[in-house]
Each structure stands twice: as structure tokens, then as C-alpha cells.
Symmetry: C2
Subunit: 276 residues, 2 copies
Amino acid sequence: MPAPLTDLSRLCIHTITTKPWSLGECIDNYTAAGVPAITVWRQALAPQGAKESGRMLRESGLRVTSLCRGGFFPADSQAKRQEAIDDNLRAIEEAAEIGAPLIVLVCGADPAKPLAESRREIADGIVAVADAAKAAGVRLGIEPLHPMYADTRSAVNTMGQANDMAERIAHSHVGVTADVYHLWWDPSLEAEIRRCGSAGKLFSFHVCDWRFPVRDILNDRGLMGDGCIDVPRIRGWAEESGFDGDIEVEIFSDKYWSLDQGEWLSKIKAAYLKYT
Amino acid sequence: MPAPLTDLSRLCIHTITTKPWSLGECIDNYTAAGVPAITVWRQALAPQGAKESGRMLRESGLRVTSLCRGGFFPADSQAKRQEAIDDNLRAIEEAAEIGAPLIVLVCGADPAKPLAESRREIADGIVAVADAAKAAGVRLGIEPLHPMYADTRSAVNTMGQANDMAERIAHSHVGVTADVYHLWWDPSLEAEIRRCGSAGKLFSFHVCDWRFPVRDILNDRGLMGDGCIDVPRIRGWAEESGFDGDIEVEIFSDKYWSLDQGEWLSKIKAAYLKYT
């Protein structure tokens, strides 16, 4: 077991976790609650734009952990794959504007073609934007998604695949984002997290819990302690292999979004100290 | 690509696929439709018991491919694990009574303990019943389940894990059941199916499709052709490595169960010849 988290110094919350709040409300409430870091979803930037969002974030003193999300590279035509690349280049600009050192990649999948082909298009897409990311001082984290999302959201579904892809791309600014929700079931998880961390490629780390029975495959994630994921154990593997970055709480949950978000934020802080 | 299926000679349907029908109705309708084989779920046996079910099946001339399902070995006490073993011994008797040469094992998982521990309890449970299965002339197929079922349904979630487990147990009557629904996303699937087939351990093969967006993680399976699984390609891997058994249609679907089941049976036959 890793050292317990005894303070909030590494706690990062994703704006999507408190989806009912605007970016301004996230900033005000996280700051007031002593949450030091934020990961910004692009829809939270949209209303005021990246430049103004960057100004708000710098003024707040919050640490920006990452921008969510780039990716979605596979598509059924060259023109659409180019559109995806262009959108990722815009995300890189936005990340630079808000001071985010990392973009999380939800890589995409085209259900009309073999997964192996989607995987090639993902690697091609990442290669196409990696130098621009480096020039902007932004890293890219390949996030393996749970196999239940292999139809349209990501053809990268295990830590082993993400490690293989990052290794083949071999670019200073391309690494991996690990999220316990997607990975907890995998018997090779410990070995693959250690492989990633030892290679200096574990760029970020997301937590939540797997509650059951699952009511909805998209928006029914649990808060740490709600389900069956041994989060501290997985965090321990990451930290033993060198990870010392923020612990990011990313939870899509119709149930929790329906709560008063201030009350929800208190629950998150408590669960972070107790079950993470 | 494998040889197309040009007739129904290897078509097997699971009683659960036409859940609204009793065993008697399944027998009558499958026979009338030229379906030569049936896999019987235990709830379809319950109303008339295994003996009478066996008589009905023998009289029908249908080939019984397997009995679904045994397993669910992990539990939070020794007494409950023994209950699971006893229940699997009863399933072996039932299989023998209905002339089923195979029981499919949905192995189970206890969300209160680490997956590695559930996996040990699964292996122990299988070992505890394997000799009784052999004595009854019944084989046991470890069915890896999709990782989205790792909370309570099965801690065995990939073909690689099932192969490893069958290899370690090393018993003539313990092998693997492959179901495309659970496995299609796995980048190591081809290699692991070939490994299984070459070892003579691929005991049975289930088909359906992964439709999307997923409306329900339990009862929203697609008919072959409805989704993104390349069923013929996966069947080809199985057959190239020696599998020549029945192709079993196992579909849990609130949508299809709500149809007239005769109409549904016609759809299954058409999809079997076109997309399987």
C-alpha cells in the first residue's frame, strides 16, 4: 500500500466532475475548498474562449493539470481524419493558452473497420500532431479506455496497448494517461503500470470507482469507495514506478451531477483522503 | 475468411435466445425450422426437471450442444464456496441427464476481494468438480466474460486468462468456451484463439454481435450483422486452429425477446447464413 493521502496537495478535479458548474464556478469553488489543481474540459472553455479562460485560471492560482480531451483520430475518409488532426492542433493551442502541460487523448474508433486499422489511424494521427505539441510545450497522454468503449470511443483498450503505442511512436511528448475505471480488471495492469512509470511515460493518473450494478455505461461512475476498485493499490504501483503527479478525480455521474455541487465537492474531498 | 456457412447443419440456438419459449416450445420450433442443435439453460429445465427434459430432447432428435451454466465459484465464506461446488455437481448430473457433453462456466467474481483471489477460488472450484465431470462424460468450458462483468460475473475476462487457467488445471475435461461478444475487442484474440484451438481446448463457440450505442450492459446484444464484430473472421481463426463444432447463437436482448419468437427465429437463421 502507498503512503496515505493526508492532505489535498495533489488533488485535481476535472471540470466535468462538477458538470453543472461553469468554468468560473469551478474555479471559485475549487479554490474556496482548498483544491489546488484543475483539469479543464473543452466544453468548459467554450463559452468564454481559451484566452479568457487562461486569464481566469492564471488569476485563480489553480494549477492546470491537463486539458480534456483530444483524440478521435479514426474516420472513414482522409478528409475527416484531417479534420480530426486539425481539431487536435486547435486543442494544442488551447492547452498552451490555458497553461495546461498535457492533453488527454481519447483516441477514437471507427466501428466500420477492423480495430487494427483504427489503431493504425490513431498512431498516424498522434504522429501528425506530436511535433506541434512539443513546440507548444504540451504533452499528449494516450488514455486506454475500457473495452466496453471499443466500438466508437477508443480502439486502445489496455495499458499494454497504450504502452506499446507510446513506445513505437517514441516521441518525447507522447506518453500515457492511466484511469483506474478503464483498467482495474486487467490482470497485466500492475506490470504495465510499472513498465510505463519506469519508462517515464506515465503522464497522468485519473481516479474514480466502478460501482455495480452498472446502470449506464457512460454516466454511472462511482466516487472512490463506492465500488470495487482498489484505488490505493493501483496508485501505489504508479508511485512506486516514479509517478508523483496530481491525482485527478474524473467522474461522470448523473447521480452526482444531480446533487448540490458544493455538497458533492465535500464528498469528493472526503473520499480522496479516505479511499484514494 | 473461412468458408461461408451455406446450410444450418452447425447452427445451435440457446434456449435463452428465445427466452419467452418453454423448453417444449424451443424444441418444437427449432425442429420445425430445421435447427439441428440446442444449448439448454438451466431455467429452461427447471419446470419439468432434468430427467423429463432429457426425455423430451432425446425424442426430438435435436443435438444437445451444452448446458448453461455452471460456475460462480468465488464467495465470501468457505460454506458458500462449497455450496457453489455442490451446485456445479448438480449441473454435471443435469448435463448427463439431458445428454449435454459440455457445461459452460460463467466463473463468478467476488467484488469484496482482489480479482487475483477470485481467480484462485475459480481455479480451485473447477479442480474440485473436474473429476466428477469426467466420470459423467461432461466437459467444462471456462468462458471468459467481457471486462465490464468483472465486478460480479467473472474474474476471467480474456481468452489469454482462460487459456492460462485451463493450461494450469491441465485436466482432460477442462477447456475454454469462446464468445465473440466478450472477446472481440482484444488485440491478442487471434493469437489466443489459435493457442486454444491448437491445444485442443476450444470446447465451444458462441456468436452474436456488439450493437452500439449500448443501451443496457446485460440485455442488449445484437444479432450477427447488427453491430461491429467481424464474426466470420473470428470463426475463421477458430476453425483454422481445429474447431469444427456447433456455432451457438446466444443473444440476450429485450428488443428481440419482445418480438414474435417465430419471426425472431427466422431472423436468426438468415443472419447465421449471411453474417456468421
